[in-house]
Amino acid sequence: MPQTSPATKDVKQKYHNVKLATILSLVFAGLGQIYNKRLLKGIIFLIIESAFLITMLNFIIHGVWGFITLGEVKGEDHSIILLIEGLVSLIVIAFAATLYVYNVIDAKRDARLLAQGESVPSVRKQVKDAYDAGFPYMMVGPGLVMLVFIVVLPLAFMISLAFTDYNLYNSPPRNLLSWVGFQNFVDLVTLSIWKKSFLNVLSWTLVWTVVATTLQIALGLFLALLVNDERVKFKRTIRTVLILPWAVPAFVTILIFSAMFNDTFGAINKDILSQFGMMIPWLTDPTWTKVALIMIQTWLGFPFVFALFTGVLQSIPRDMYEAADVDGGTRLQKFRFITFPHIMFATAPLLIMQYAQNFNNFNIIYLFNEGGPAVRGQNAGGTDILISWVYKLTFDTNNYNMAAAITIIMGLVVSIFAFYQFRKTAAYKEEGEM
């Protein structure tokens, strides 16, 4: 690497061409950097691009072809594998494009510095700069790769499936899939069996999310306020017991409840309700199953909210209440103007998460009664929510395309929650600080 003396610096100022550096780096990554006399960086870029072209080009061309056509020879091309390979190539292209754009920006920036008369830094300095600039990417790298392949790729795959005709009767490798546009979504709202199932499941999902979550929050809040009363003794013991339902693994309790609610042999009917001469069809009547589900979710969900609120309540400064007492504030006023705003400010994002979690609460629906009981005239169970319906469509009846279409609709709903979180977070932080 040539050391620049002040004399040559002036010459460079005249002759170094920023445009040429940019164009060179556009032609092939690294050329611009070499022109900028950043040999090391240039060679690394050169190697990366050559290696990329040599090893990945065929895969990418094949992948993009597969993604567009989903295969051309029946029985030989496996549409699903082609689809996944296609998505992987798209991701690789995105990575490569980012690097490429970075290379151009980098070449342009260095060229400009050079043209302004800055000297080329020593190799040592260059390596250190590269390490400093690259460090955050290095730290994010492993996580990012896992995230892309385990979270993003599967979601992208689901999204793609929603636009294909992949189901039990049309499945690779025997058949080829093809892109069908929005046909699945149209079917969902026009074909009578799908329309009926979809509307029923969607409305129950929303009712379930709102009612179950609100109940668990309300009960948690109420209990937190009660136990926080200064006159209550044995607070620690009471709190420990009230948190128990959260501490026991949920799948265990749900299965236990499922047995307890058994119509004929369950403890609820056999031991408790029979004393009042009642037998409630908990597992065979959809309405009763829904009631049972909401009660169980309240049981399971309130301790988290309770613990959360208890923590926040203890952090509210006491002098605020004392000031309110001086002003003659009633208990309701104190709650409305001091307690409530406080706990809501601190916990709103977590409460929103509770709604999002119940919206996707597969475990309780599936483990309690497998989404049943069955209902005439629809292909979803009487208590199926969207996610358990998707599970059944996927693994029981192999209606992959419809399951994927419904997943997209779920994704849209979930995004509404996420959007709220964005605003909430943005409100806490100024843009740059986040």
Partner: protein, 280 residues
């Protein structure tokens, strides 16, 4: 009515309500313990207070040659430990970069995390199944671990980043002045100060394999690879009611250690969650 009696009546109502909650909470738990002590495997002939108490089901789980319970326990502990360690390492790396460095894509990355944590792994289940099949990790504990570790990143990175943000920057700047490198600041300053939140992440990821049954159900197929949750589910799913007492006994054996750990650590869980959420 004077103030004192009014207060007494109020307290009466409060305690009555708390007692009512105690009963509702305790009933199913005690019922399970009662059932697990019944002789025979049938739920229908069992009662909450058995006439002759027996520990045969607990014994069966551990000693019977046809019981895979110990293998499942071992699998669950293995998945839990690896998942917990790997998650803490990867998540803290990511959170450190997002908390302390400016780089291209940082802000959008944070938004992406916020969005992605809302999507359960379940939404991509078909693809996960096919992907694991492609790389030969289907019906393999490592495949399960891979999904757990990847899936937890958005939520936990957000949580840990929120905590890192509360550690004063002056500390790492001072260390930088003294010549500490990127890694030194990370290992010598950030990690020790962030122990509480890292413990929360470790705990979350340690518990997940014990309580999750859906992913194992999709990924694992042979009984010797089952985790506890999946194995227990199959006790009652295959022949309902036939093995219910065994299921009850097995459930109690996981519920007790988990509940104990949980009760010990819940205070940290809560403080970790609130600090991560409000400062995130």
């Amino acid at each position: 009515m004077n103030k004192k009696t009014k207060s007494r009546i109020e307290m009466g109502f409060i305690y009555a309500f708390i007692l009512f909650m105690f009963i509702i909470i305790a009933y199913p738990l005690l019922w399970t313990i009662g059932i697990s002590l019944n002789p025979g495997t049938n739920m229908f002939s069992s009662s909450m207070i058995p006439e002759n108490i027996t520990f045969e089901h607990y014994k069966w789980l551990f000693t019977d040659p046809s019981s895979d319970y110990l293998i499942w326990y071992k699998n669950s502990v293995f998945v839990a430990v690896v998942n917990s360690v790997a998650s803490v390492i990867i998540t803290s790396f990511v959170a450190y970069a997002f908390s302390r460095y400016k780089f291209v894509g940082r802000k959008n990355g944070l938004y992406a995390f916020l969005l992605l944590q809302m999507f359960p792994a379940l939404m991509g289940m078909v693809a996960l199944y096919i992907l694991l099949n492609l790389i030969g990790l289907l019906d393999n504990l490592w495949g399960l671990i891979l999904i757990y570790v990847g899936g937890q990143i958005p939520f936990n990175a957000w949580l840990v980043k929120g905590y890192f943000d509360t550690i004063p920057r002056e500390l790492d700047e001072a260390a930088r002045m003294d010549g500490a490198g990127h890694f030194q600041v990370f290992f010598k300053i950030m990690l020790p100060l962030a122990k509480p939140i890292l413990a929360v992440v470790a705990l979350f990821n340690f518990m997940a394999p014990f309580t999750d049954f859906l992913l194992p159900r999709i990924v694992l197929s042979s009984p010797e690879n089952f985790t506890l949750a999946l194995g227990l589910f199959n006790f009652i799913n295959n022949q309902f009611a036939n093995n219910f007492t065994r299921f009850a006994a097995g459930s109690i054996l996981i519920a007790i250690p988990i509940a104990l750990v949980f009760l010990f650590l819940q205070r940290y869980l809560i403080s970790g969650l609130t600090s991560g959420a409000t400062k995130g």
